[in-house]
Amino acid sequence: MSAATATVTADARIPLRGHLRHTGALVRRNLLWIRQDPESMFDAILFPVIFTLLFVYVFGGSIGQSLGGGQEAYVQYVVPGLMAMMGMNMAQGVGTGFNTDFNSGVMDRFRSLPIGRGSVLFAKIAVEVLRMLFATVILMIVGVLVGFDITNWAGLLASVGLSAVFGSALMWVFLTLGVIMKSAQSVQAMGFLVLMPLQFGSSIFAPTQSMPGWLQAFTDYNPLSALADSARGLMVGGPVAHDLWLTLGWSAAITAVMAPVAIHKFRTKN
């Protein structure tokens, strides 16, 4: 390079306060979207209602029998599982939404502003976690209405937190897909293809004991099983420690790998 460039000073760094300010401004943007378009909250309301009713009343009786009870037994089993699922579903949605957002002109403006480019992604995750908490409240209301017995409030809060942690880890995966894939539809299709086997090949909806050996091997290592089982343990009782650590481990690992990838892809995409 020429002599002129040698005198160029290092680039400015953005202080932490700046990052918080930028993320705050972008969180406000995403919250205003919801106010502008309240229908975007439909999924957060309908998803827990439909899934709870569907699983409790369609499968509840027969799966409940295998649990040694009936529908009531299954309610206690599936509501913590659905809570675990909540984070995932929101995570899938964030990829689709972000893809549309990413392809709009405003992203060029964001990327030409002196902000940390991670701020755009952090804001997205913050708002999605808020949506997830909202969906969880709906889930608990419907759960109680169909007979779920909240015995341990501290455990309930802990499992909400755990789902949020795991959900936001997964959001990095879907944000990455949202950035690199060409259309919102393909992000959605991809999310569906990945999440479907993970959701059903886990202990979220049914105990795994009756599954064939190869599938059990899969479900045992499926982080969603660990998340569902720790939520169950925290909310209704039972062993927790192993699954809890496993879930936290998975969350940390996914975030450690995927957050830098997502930010890098966001930063360098043309």
Binding site: L32, M107, S112, N270
Partner: protein
């Protein structure tokens, strides 16, 4: 064709506080596979001036703007904006630029005011200042009445004005306008031009890309003509027109009845420039293409010999369309009388 009219090979100025070159580009290259979007581009924009980058679709104009606004990293070459290197100092650079893209880069779901407030906060303005700046710019761009409506309900011109307002929040030293009026109807286009002229009046340096000769002529003082990723000509607009050679004289007789005799006298001179002598009856004058000062003198002599009294003689430079045609061998865009909105057809590259 060699870029032999590059004006002043000014050194790269690394002092952000001084110097007269606001944008400096040297040997900039960006390839997409086989496609050479930019193939060694050099240009300088002096502080406080408007540089028009003119070229057809696919000439590399947008790639240039995206590199200069740090959205793209070049494959080779060097560029500085306000003294900051586009690759090494992107954050500092972003603080001094404004960008308005080909499509409106505003958040359509947010109201106009919220768009501006958000950008203010992202530029680290305190809440109070960000609010005041949003109010001020909405007022200035005549959007106060629409402040609370989502940008998606705005007309094309309002959206573009909001976009310009958003670009101005941080008081940028350099403004990049990437085809700011593409897709707008003529009336709206004039609105945008007026806004740009106002900004320039306030001392902002502008780099403007356009496919429209008329736009470059309206806004830019200097012009860089690009084609297929290369600069094919560079200089003051008047200079470029002169380079193509040929001017035209508009000769107006004092008595309109003398129009035909005047045309006949000029025809007899047998001067052939870029076009032939034409009578413009509506304007009441005759247009004579000339190539040299001697020919100008010959025209005057011929008129005097016939005893025709003239009310005016004016020199006209050729249109930029003709300039482009003679520089590249192909037309830059569809005919000028078409409105920008319906000249979206692409020139084969």
């Amino acid at each position: 064709m060699a870029p032999d009219t590059v004006i002043g090979m000014t050194r790269i100025d690394n002092n952000p506080n001084g110097g007269s070159i606001a944008v400096s580009v040297r040997g900039l290259v960006k390839h997409y596979g086989e496609t050479k979007a930019l193939d060694g581009v050099d240009l300088d924009v002096r502080e406080g001036t408007v540089m028009g980058v003119l070229g057809p679709n696919g000439a590399g104009k947008t790639t240039l703007v995206r590199i200069l606004s740090t959205l793209l990293v070049p494959d080779a070459g060097q560029a500085t904006v306000a003294g900051y290197d586009v690759v090494r100092q992107p954050r500092q650079l972003r603080r001094v630029i404004g960008l308005t893209g080909q499509y409106a880069s505003v958040d359509e779901k947010l109201p106009g005011w919220e768009n501006l407030y958000m950008i203010g906060r992202l530029l680290d303005l305190p809440r109070k200042d960000a609010r005041a700046r949003a109010d001020e710019l909405l007022e200035r761009f005549s959007l106060t009445d629409a402040a609370k409506r989502p940008a998606s309900t705005y007309s094309g011109g309002m959206r573009r004005r909001l976009d310009l307002a958003a670009s101005m929040i941080g008081h940028p030293a350099v403004l990049f306008l990437d085809e700011p009026t593409t897709g707008l109807d003529p009336r709206t286009r004039n609105e945008v031009w007026d806004e740009v002229k106002r900004m320039v009046g306030e001392g902002v340096t502008v780099l403007l890309t356009t496919q429209y000769m008329e736009e470059a002529e309206q806004l830019a003082s200097e012009l860089t003509v690009v084609d297929r990723g290369q600069v094919i000509a560079n200089g003051a607009i008047e200079e470029l027109k002169a380079k193509v050679g040929g001017r035209a004289l508009r000769v107006r007789p004092a008595d309109p009845m003398q129009l035909r005799p005047l045309a006949a006298a000029l025809d007899e001179l047998g001067i052939t420039g870029l076009a032939t002598t034409t009578v413009d009856a509506a304007r009441g004058d005759v247009l004579v293409p000339i190539l040299s000062d001697e020919q100008l003198t010959a025209v005057v002599n011929a008129v005097t010999a016939r005893g025709i009294t003239l009310s005016s003689i004016t020199t006209e430079l050729p249109s930029l369309d003709e300039v482009f045609l003679s520089l590249t061998g192909h037309r830059a865009s569809a005919p000028q009388d078409a409105t920008p909105a319906d000249t979206r057809e692409e020139v084969a590259v």
